[in-house]
Symmetry: C2
Subunit: 335 residues, 2 copies
């Protein structure tokens, strides 16, 4: 799906002041990263390493695994398409509501698709299960211990677990890469885009056992990851500072969820990360979105095009206290 | 093919002083472009336009065509794979020697492959013909008038013409985009990587009639082109300065070809662009390559892994006069 995602500022006529529409937290001080990228800007005039090898090495060290267990990709989105391609025409079950690219990638590569609202309800004949943990768009999570049991009980199914939001939730929910490598049937997706708020550079990676990375690697194209993304990834891994303080951020999320849930005519769905779904009792999210753009320069994610949701849903990613308060006020006004 | 391309500086133990191994001419003054990119470095913290729409608009204006005739891609390499995917399992004929990615992309998408050393020798049953004009690695060209006739006589074959090096040859050889749109069976590939010496950013584009761009577009992934590549592309198109002076550069190429051809034990193949093939009468290109790295910090492209060539071939892309003279001297030494 080329259009219809969040962060669609480019489509807005009015200047956007507050952007709640993408699950990126970009409030950190990035000046050191910017200085670093400008200091190596001349590197745009040579080809990148075809497989981002030097970044792979740093990721291997950081995760205490072998380089053969890692494939760096042009954003997590490229990873999704490569996996769908490597498992062409298989039976895939997708846990919904879900990021639309799993379905699109599976359709392009002729998978037989089914959809389930939870792991326990997936098609018994599925060969692949796609889930996002924590899940986009609803911020839902599976406990790692539950996943452990479920995966062990289904050794013939390949589990593609998108952990793009692993930095934004409690560690009890997500696998470490080392933990996941105990399984021969688990592929983890990671997003440096999300963890480090660099979606403009496009940087993600796959981790899995050698057999699976070999299988997927056969479909890669050279130089898929640009040099400045490689430079940024290496810098951020070496610098080692967390991109933000998850505890403070998740506390702010709770505060915002409570304030929104107190509005008559709005229900906030439970979530275990920094973004969450809201459901309008009356009216359409697309109308609210347009009102917020026109009257307040606020951008939200109309979530009606997620499979399993309808026109009443929108998604919010927590921002600063001041912006969050402004959002609550503006939504009250509209309702 | 992930590894085995040129510009493999990252694989060299010794510092490379002169790089003849990639077909990029990077001797221009890039300071204005660098300043521009650093001034918009904050843009890495938002998603790019999913389809690079604003760059597509500028390209449409520049080429005097509709935006629907253009797809911007993550380098010309992504374009090659998208086209092979859109024409999955067709009969493809590739003019060799050729950039290896045509073959790799066709194999991944299960084309029936044949190879020919010229257009007139292609398989009569081919549904697609892939050619590069001017051709990598040998710098060979087809005259536009010859292509015109051949394409008109074969309306049922789709021609994928890679014009990545269009900026580096005489205009009588290559199609303008408008000229190519007269055909319903021609897809042109363009490389801003090559024209503007920005391979680290990854930026290419496809032009074709609407029916063909629609067909290919169905396989695109969102945000494939990173924001700084989009920014650079827009800046370079607006700035409008030629990245270099083709006449001077091609004259320097002739000078270098003549000097190399005068070496006993070496044959230079004719070419109509800034890069060309050399053939060793005795010895292997891989040995010469290693000698030049170790003794002189010079990198050349061992061309033995191009289909149709053998261990005696290497490729040279012209650099500055001083470097070219140094190369001639070093090769003489080795021979």
């Amino acid at each position: 799906m080329i259009n219809g995602h969040g962060d669609d500022i480019y489509g807005c006529k009015r200047k956007i002041i507050s952007n709640f529409s993408s699950n990126i937290y970009g409030r950190q001080d990035f000046s050191a990263l910017h200085d670093h990228l400008c200091s190596c800007i001349h590197s745009i005039h040579a080809y990148p390493e075809p497989d981002a090898a030097s970044l792979v090495e740093l990721l291997a060290k950081k995760n205490d695994i072998q380089t053969a267990n890692i494939l760096v990709t042009n954003g997590a989105v490229e990873a999704i398409y490569l996996i769908a391609q490597a498992f062409r025409a298989k039976k895939s079950s997708i846990i919904i509501p879900a990021f639309s690219e799993y379905e699109d990638a599976c359709r392009i590569h002729e998978h037989q698709l089914s959809f389930a609202s939870s792991l326990s309800q997936t098609d018994k004949e599925a060969e692949l299960i796609w889930l996002c943990n924590p899940n986009n768009p609803d911020g839902n999570v599976y406990h790692k211990s539950y996943l452990d049991t479920f995966i062990s009980e289904h050794p013939d199914i390949f589990f593609i677990i998108d952990q793009s939001y692993e930095a934004f939730t409690d560690k009890q929910y997500t696998f470490t890469v080392r933990e996941s490598l105990a399984y021969k049937n688990v592929i983890l997706l990671h997003s440096m885009t999300k963890s480090y708020a660099i979606p403009g550079l496009r940087l993600g990676y796959i981790t899995a056992c050698n057999e699976l990375t070999d299988k997927i690697s056969a479909f890669r194209i050279p130089w898929a990851v640009n040099q400045l993304a490689i430079e940024a990834g290496k810098y951020l891994l070496k610098e080692g500072k967390p991109a933000f303080d998850p505890e403070t951020y998740l506390a702010e999320t709770k505060h915002l969820m409570t304030a929104l849930n107190a509005i008559d005519g709005l229900t906030v769905l439970p979530a275990s990360t920094h973004f969450f779904l809201c459901k309008l009792i009356r009216g359409k999210a697309s109308d609210l979105k347009q009102y917020l753009i026109d009257q307040h320069g606020i951008l939200i994610r109309d979530a009606s095009n997620f499979r399993g949701l309808d026109a009443s849903f929108f998604r919010i990613a927590t921002q600063s206290r001041e912006e969050n308060d402004q959002l609550v006020k503006a939504i009250k006004e509209w309702i």
